[in-house]
């Protein structure tokens, strides 16, 4: 029997394991058995990947940067969802409020997600920095540190940040475009009461990451099955809907520049061993 490929994933909710069960069954049925290993945070997963405990890691964008940093930039991003590409984050504010430009946030409070959330904290704060506003000095930051270690996978931090804005405890809040779309449609956010103040540059989100020494034939075997998923096949659609994609795409690293810039400016990894 062929040795399964070990795939790591961070789990914040047991229901997410159901998606991975379905994916594992799909891989098994297509001649590429995988075993999933779940981690409570991305730091543990990155360590496991680099020590060779797992073959592939389903990484957040910050975990990708961390793996690159720790491996001397030798890891490879081999695949991602179509929905991981070209995401943006928003700073939103009250439509009838006094904040009309980013500059108006000087001396005000911005609510953000967990400290390690690329989409709800690092990149939005990077946007402020690009406009010459230093978080903590020019702008007060209200951080909603829910489930630190999950890199913002859990939407609770973004939701709490919005609730700070709604309660008048912040003048703006940060969130990813997908949550803005969902929450303005399901009634969580009244789109007539809130408006998008600023939009970040596009960035990429999660990716499957491997070490440099992952055998190419194993990688091709994994990708062949992954890319065989078709949204127009009803048997695959449930799995793809659960994972939030319409197509798997080749991995690319060009979309991590914005996060890299933010991480550098904010010295996110300062004090940690490379």
């Amino acid at each position: 029997m062929e040795k399964p490929i070990l795939v790591g994933a961070v789990l914040y909710n047991p229901k997410v394991s159901v998606i991975w069960d379905i994916i594992a069954e799909f891989f098994q049925a297509n001649g590429c058995p995988i075993d999933t290993v779940f981690y409570t945070n991305y730091e543990l997963q990155a360590e496991a990947l680099l020590k060779g405990h797992i073959d592939i890691a389903w990484n957040s964008p910050l975990a990708w940067l961390d793996a690159q940093r720790q491996s001397g930039h030798t890891c490879r991003a081999i695949a991602m969802r179509d929905t991981d590409r070209d995401r943006v984050s928003y700073l939103i504010t009250k439509a009838q409020g006094r904040i009309k430009t980013i500059e108006d946030l000087r001396g005000k409070t911005v609510a953000v997600g967990a400290k390690d959330s690329p989409q709800a904290t690092l990149i939005p704060l990077g946007l402020l920095q690009r406009h010459g506003l230093q978080p903590g000095r020019d702008v007060q930051v209200r951080r909603c540190d829910l489930m630190v270690g999950k890199h913002g996978d859990h939407i609770g931090g973004e939701l709490e940040a919005f609730q700070c804005l709604a309660a008048g405890e912040a003048d703006a809040s940060a969130l990813i475009d997908l949550n803005w779309q969902t929450w303005t449609q399901d009634g969580t956010i009244n789109p007539h009461e809130y408006t998008i103040l600023a939009t970040t540059e596009p960035f990429d989100h999660c990716c499957f990451t491997v070490r440099a020494d992952f055998p190419p034939e194993r990688e091709q075997q994994f990708l062949r099955v992954l890319f065989a998923m078709r949204y127009d096949n009803p048997k695959h659609r449930e799995m793809m809907d659960l994972e939030g994609l319409k197509a798997w795409m080749p991995g690319r690293t060009s979309g991590y520049g914005l996060l890299h810039e933010a991480v550098e400016r904010q010295q996110f990894f300062a004090g940690t061993q490379p």
Partner: protein
């Protein structure tokens, strides 16, 4: 599972897929608690000749940390039951005092209440509805 002349099928210990097609062992435990309380109440009420129209229970269970069941690396705690909440609804025209006597006797005689109450957070409540 076989019990005397009966048999029933039990699924996985725990499942997180709402579409899972079997009743899990954990769900059977919670169901057994509900059945114990409801049937126990009716049995005592009959014995004490207290007329009861209807009894039902809502049982909710909370695991200490379900992620440990999935073997998530770095999680702590255990997959055991941390808390069980049992809400019992009784429809009866009997007096409050009569119903309370039945309730207390049922609790004292319930094998599952007496098992779980000293072991975990076991919250029982009774509501009389007309």
């Amino acid at each position: 599972m076989f019990a005397r002349t009966h048999q029933y099928r039990v699924g996985a210990p725990v499942q997180f897929d709402a579409a899972y097609d079997a009743i899990t062992a954990l769900e059977y435990v919670l169901g057994a608690i509900g059945a114990d309380v409801v049937n126990g109440f009716q049995t005592v009420a009959r014995k004490r000749r207290v007329e009861v129209d209807h009894v039902e229970a809502v049982v909710e269970g909370e695991l200490n940390n379900p992620l440990t069941y999935l073997g998530v690396v770095g999680e702590s705690g255990h997959p055991g039951l941390e808390r069980v909440v049992v809400k019992v609804y009784v429809a009866s025209l009997a007096t409050e005092a009569e119903i309370q006597r039945v309730w207390q006797e049922m609790l004292a005689k319930s094998p599952l209440v007496r098992t779980f109450q000293p072991a975990i957070r076991f919250e029982l409540s009774l509501q009389v509805v007309l």
